[in-house]
Symmetry: C2
Subunit: 359 residues, 2 copies
């Protein structure tokens, strides 16, 4: 088992990464609690809720299962979970455990952040993608008019990451998580990048997962330690997300996962970086790896003006120029304003290139 | 004008207390903001919203008026204010101003704490009672099953306290605010106590208000600086509230204000202190002052068992003994567990005594 430590403004917390940790949850509690409220979703509950409940047999535990999927990050689920917390008699010495992926982590974390003005919570991520969201203390629900608009910065008491739970992920979720790992490696770690780019997603071992996830979490932790509230370098974590988020909004959720669209966004960011800095980056290598690992790289053609409009709406910066995270080299990120005109051209060229390649 | 400073965990903020500050709001902004969203209630809007808007004529301002009263501290108002903030295009560099009493401060503060994971907000209290809630960073809304159950600790960027706005308060609100001032003096400041106990509420001058409010805020600030998240000495601020809150729940809101019931709670806490420590405290003096200033001291008889049940429900400690804040002397508070049996007796005796006196 690996242990990382993340320094938040309020406290430092451990991230445990290993196999079968869910059978020993009690051993990773930072202190004793008056009661424990496990929040999970239907999919995860079917696989792992009982394991966690059994491992906490000596504690006073309650649990609540919410529907799986992004639509659970709404104000009604938030209020419903507060109602349950009150009915179960939670108090300030209680703990909330978020057992699941990013959605469960975000909503359960926000409930913990606001129940009686904040009680402890533990993230137990069950997806690869959630290695990213479980570290850094961003918790939120969506507003009907935009994602993650209502939330807090609220660091967990600890993160317990049982990589065994990742073996039940489907291929889409696997690819989604690895796109974020790739992003982290491109931002900060050539060695991790070289390890990832030779990884075959159809033959993942627990050892490899533990090693790569630990490194990904360390990178994320280093960045959020410097800039917890996202006024500076934390923005680098948006590498690949400028286009990725816009595509998510346009294409809707379902056919592509978050990370699959981020992967396309990474390709785009690399292409723009090459043009902006007149350098060569491993675009070909990344493209080939994504293709070999069955990432969906064929998109319908979308009017660049529509993409640009969504990019601006996403950042609520309708009147200003888009700031993209670019790479001057692997592990050398930079923020760069790209004029609308240039961006429209890049988007057009990129789509043509992607289309030609896939033919 | 007086200026106090409050040290929160995240930052130190100024509290400006003086006359006619609302006409110069722009001069008290800590920095420039991309836009300003003023949240107020119907009553306050009718008196003061225009003044504040005019003083911010050079800024991009928006405003929203919520219904006056405790019922506005609900999840629907909270979400509605988020919707408005999005529609008005607020971003992370925007400011929310809470112009009003405790209700407006609590709900607007919680919106600020959660909009895009937290933007700056300024408290502009318009009641005496709100001198207490505007300092200390507690923001919240109510859950249908209990007060202030959903919220954050989130300190304001500053507090701008225009005592001129206090002259439009009705007598109930005046008495309500002075009860909290009395509480603070009993906790920490004999001099303030002696000043308050000779104050005639029908002849309040702005100078006297500024002087006494400044001292009250300083006391509050000293306590919350030591214990922002209420794990220790901040509990002292509950002096008078153990009974006060229980009476609020039983009698409902309307006939008595929060502070008027806290005043009765203070008398009770003093009586229990005298019995517990076998000492004499200025019970008679306080009773006389409350009576002279027309505090409503006649309550209907309530079964002590019912009061005790509400006290336990209020603190969510159904199975444990009630902890009361007592006084070993003026400015010498202490926490003390009181057995159910003793408490029932004290409540019975206190009610009989109050009834006999009022006859």
């Amino acid at each position: 088992m690996n242990e990382s430590r993340v320094k938040a403004k309020t406290h430092t917390y451990p991230v445990y990464i290993g196999e079968n940790l869910r059978y020993q949850t009690d051993q990773y509690l930072p202190k004793s609690f008056s009661s424990i409220f496990i929040i999970t979703d239907e999919t995860v509950a079917a696989h792992y809720l009982q394991d966690v409940q059994k491992s906490l047999a000596n504690e006073t535990i309650f649990s609540c299962t919410i529907p799986a999927g992004e639509q659970s990050k709404n104000i009604d689920t938030f209020y419903h979970l507060h109602t349950k917390a009150i009915e179960y008699g939670l108090d300030r010495q209680s703990l909330i455990i978020a057992l699941g992926g990013g959605v469960v982590g975000d909503v359960a974390g926000f409930v913990a952040a606001t129940f009686m003005r904040g009680i402890d919570f533990i993230q137990m991520p069950t997806t690869i993608l959630a290695h990213d969201s479980s570290v850094g203390g961003k918790v939120a629900i969506n507003h009907a008019q935009g994602k993650n608009l209502i939330g807090n910065f609220y660091a967990p008491a600890s993160v317990i990451y049982d990589v065994q739970t990742l073996h039940t992920l489907n291929d889409h979720e696997l690819r989604s998580g690895y796109a974020e790992l790739l992003k982290e490696s491109l931002l900060a770690d050539k060695e991790l990048y070289h390890s990832l780019i030779i990884t075959d997603l159809s033959f993942l071992t627990s050892d490899k997962l533990i090693e790569q996830l630990t490194r990904g979490i360390d990178i994320k932790a280093e960045i959020v330690e410097i800039d917890e509230h996202e006024s500076g370098v934390r923005k680098y974590l948006n590498l690949g997300h400028t286009l990725g988020h816009a595509l998510e909004t346009i294409l809707g959720y379902g056919s592509w996962t978050h990370g699959e669209l981020v992967a396309i966004g990474l390709l785009f960011a690399i292409r723009v970086s090459e043009k902006t800095y007149a350098i060569q980056l491993p675009y070909e290598q990344l493209y080939t790896w994504l293709k070999d690992n069955d990432y969906p790289l064929q998109l319908p053609y979308i009017d660049p003006a529509e993409i640009l409009a969504k990019m601006k709406k996403d950042k609520k910066t309708l009147n200003t120029t888009i700031q993209m995270v670019l790479l001057q080299d692997i592990a050398r990120p930079a923020l760069m304003e790209i004029s609308d005109k240039k961006l429209l051209n890049y988007l057009y060229d990129f789509q043509i290139e992607m289309k030609q390649r896939s033919e």
